[in-house]
Amino acid sequence: MAELRNRNFLSSATADTVTFEQIDELVEWVKRIHGFDFSGYSRASLKRRVTRIMDLHNLTLFDLKSLLVNDYAFFEEFIIEITVNVTEMFRDPGFYRAVREKVLPYLASFQRIKVWNAGCSTGQELYSFAILLAKENLYKRSFLYGTDINTRVLDLAKKGIYDLKLMKHYSENYLESGASGSLSDFYTAQYDAASINHSLKKNTLFSVHNLVSDGVFNEFQLISCRNVLIYFNVELQQKVISLFYNSLCPFGFLCLGSKESLRDSELSRRFKVIDKAENIYQKIE
């Protein structure tokens, strides 16, 4: 009986389906066929995501490879599944409070405010910034760029329509960030959906950009890239931070996730810490 039970346990949750070596092979495979380079990504995270995809579709490694070669639609699905797209509006309310209190007064002194939300996924963070700027009457001279490697999440971001059930949690975040009024001032509810107000979509552009392979495309007053770097190894993190450095105007701001940092790089000395706990920096040279 015990034996039988144990055998049943050899499902995905309890058995190793793919090794790190096989992950490396798969990464190489994807790079050659599709030109996407995941070799700088966290292998522990990739392994977890790949295992999940194999479970979800009931695939062996062989099946997975053959689908990646033969089925482009599946490749898109693969990209979505191996990258983490979890996001929310006003995630970490303390961060938005710090931006409002310590960054926006400075940003207001720029004639034009260009914001880059790198790794924007389905757009919740970008719209949170848009709301923040609108509340301070800065939106009309702002422009917000959201980028991701994943076209399907970008389509959702452009629409800006979210499950109404999520709005309750987002509203709690909003209030906790210390903002006045209510989040519902910025969306329209219809049936089960909440649609971000059109006025907030006016000065936005969502487009594909790959932090691994693409370069500087504009000059920004603020760059926000939160909980993206944790999926990269240290070398790739450094490379991306230098991309951000080169994309910021003098005295522009860089916002990272609360558990991310500039590390001890040459570049870290060219930034001033604006808020240590919330990881907000300003380029000073």
Partner: protein
Amino acid sequence: MIKRKIFIKKLNNLNKDIEKRVREAKVLLLGCSAGGFGLVYDLVLGLPEDFPLPVIVIIHRSKKYRSSMEELLDSKSRISVKLAEDKEQIKKGFVYFAPPDYHLLLEPEGFFTLDTSEPVMYCRPSIDVTFQSVADVYQENVIALLFSGANADGADGLAYIQAKKGLVGVQNPEAAEVRTMPDAAIGRCQVDMILSNSEIFSFIGSIATVLNSVKDGKD
């Protein structure tokens, strides 16, 4: 000092097989949820500064309350206690807590990665996620203990570690404040040890004794 005495006492009934696996261990994992905080607190407080394995603790807790458990423990205990940081190298002499609202993964090169993917069974950090990830790196050289808790998180993780021939134990459900978590694990795999609270203390004490004797060549 009283705590230290408890630790030095070697578990008498540590059988040969378990002792052998303790000898080969490279990491100690502790997981708990509701009702397990006090136990983990006392355990960490009792660890000697030269405890021979890195320790990783996964506790379910809300991100809404900034917890100072690590700071408090760090100031009170002999071993260093901290929140695991992204891309930090795992070392012995440290007890690492998973930060609230992140999953904690271990890279094959031995450093941590934080992860914000979906909660598992409503939990982030998830015990299953970390247990599986650490077992992927250390294979059979893992000791994992699961304590009191109100859901089944950790059961899959223990089963995964066991499938890789790691050593797994749970707090006796009778002794646990909330028995759901150890019960789930017992239902999910053939755990190597079911331990009373005092046995948990002496087992961890014997890890130190066994491994330090290997190190000192007194074996």
